[in-house]
Symmetry: C2
Subunit: 212 residues, 2 copies
DNA sequence: ATCAGTTTGTCAATATTTTAACATAATAAA
DNA sequence: TTTATTATGTTAAAATATTGACAAACTGAT
């Protein structure tokens, strides 16, 4: 099914959005859609949608379009949402807690299996049935539970060292909320930086542009 | 100083990252840097950095490089961080509270001036010295305080209608944490979608790729 | 069964983004 | 002062990404 050559990251970054829109259409009771109609709803070109999907196979039918349910499933498979990976959360401050409580990771390919924080006062507390462990237990926990990925909600200053430790414990990817670019330090490891500051500054720029 | 033709969003999206790295260098006591050295630290090409900066003016000197402090200031000005805009937060659930408490908006060009939530039990509570208002007070508040921007931390289902109301009340930009693409609905309004789900799915894809 | 109308997958053309190359100008050392 | 070195701003080339065009294939109505 997969075409062998590697797919550009521009395409990959659009897949979750397709997945989301197709989910919406499904919940509206729709069962089929053409690239043209989908493109209008998403604010893209039909050509781009067809081009993107073609990186992975042929999911549509001429004269008919795409089966919405089928296509969403396929994109889910491509993204790997079906076989959840184990995730641990490092840092149970406001952001960490918000993510753990508010965010359904299971439907996005991950299961949260452990929470850690340096702060002794937090240890023992429970978030969504998971106890917050002391950082001292990290080593042991990772060897027992083999998590695949870590969510970093820790101060900037701690980011590099904690990430270094985690890489040595076998962590393969980071969802990084720290104001620090991990990708530069760890080539070969997957990093998704969520730089909230950056997006806010971009918004600031854009608001100024329409004003002036 | 500004060159008149509009600058591509690829360039704009890199500016906050430059700003951040330059801040780091400053705090390390460095005062000058060449595009070559900066590129190595950031994992870019020197050419790209020079090209990017050139969209806005000439900030360096041949044979010397860039003055770090000066360049950071200039990028801050370009982004508009100097003249803070007024922001309101809609939705004081976990994510909303985490942002309000955890996040320094002032240094990113915004001042948080009001918080709103539909839930009656939250109203009256205080977050960082700001009271949480009922949504009924939104109209009055906006007319009095003229906020420029709204942070949306509300359920998906409410997103469109709330945004619609806010646009009518003069809001010019959204920092949108809802799983919903506002940009499609409101052309002309600035929207920064923070789709945490999307970045998590992208990470899932990438972790699978290195596994297989 | 036939035929007009759709819509895909793909190839080719266009546009955008990134990288490389280099003339020019400043630095810093002799 | 002179000269070798450094490093910018800018132009040109290469690489990517997006869009347009169309033959082939299916739908659905007659």
């Amino acid at each position: 099914m997969n075409k062998s050559r590697s797919v550009s990251s521009s395409v990959i970054k659009r897949l979750p959005r397709y997945h989301r829109f197709l989910g919406d259409l499904r919940s509206k009771g729709m069962y089929r859609i053409s690239s043209k109609e989908l493109s209008e709803r998403m604010g893209l070109t039909a050509s781009q949608i067809r081009q993107d999907l073609n990186c992975f196979g042929e999911f549509g039918q001429q004269g008919y379009g795409y089966n919405i349910e089928l296509l969403q499933e396929e994109i889910g498979k491509i993204l790997g949402l079906n076989s959840p990976k184990r995730a641990i959360l490092i840092g149970a401050g406001h952001m960490g807690k918000a993510l753990a409580m508010h965010f359904d990771m299971t439907s996005k390919g991950f299961d949260l299996i452990g929470i850690f924080d340096v702060k002794p006062s937090l240890c023992g507390q429970t978030v969504r049935d998971l106890p917050i462990h002391s950082m001292e237990r990290l080593d042991e926990f990772c060897r027992e539970n083999k998590p695949d990925m870590a969510i970093l909600c820790i101060p900037r200053s701690a980011a590099h060292d904690v990430a270094d430790t985690l890489v040595k414990l076998g962590i393969k990817g980071f969802w990084n909320f720290t104001h620090y670019d991990l990708s530069v330090d760890f080539p070969g490891i997957c990093v998704e930086n969520v730089h909230l500051s950056d997006s806010l500054m971009t918004l600031c720029y854009n608001i100024n542009r329409i004003d002036n």
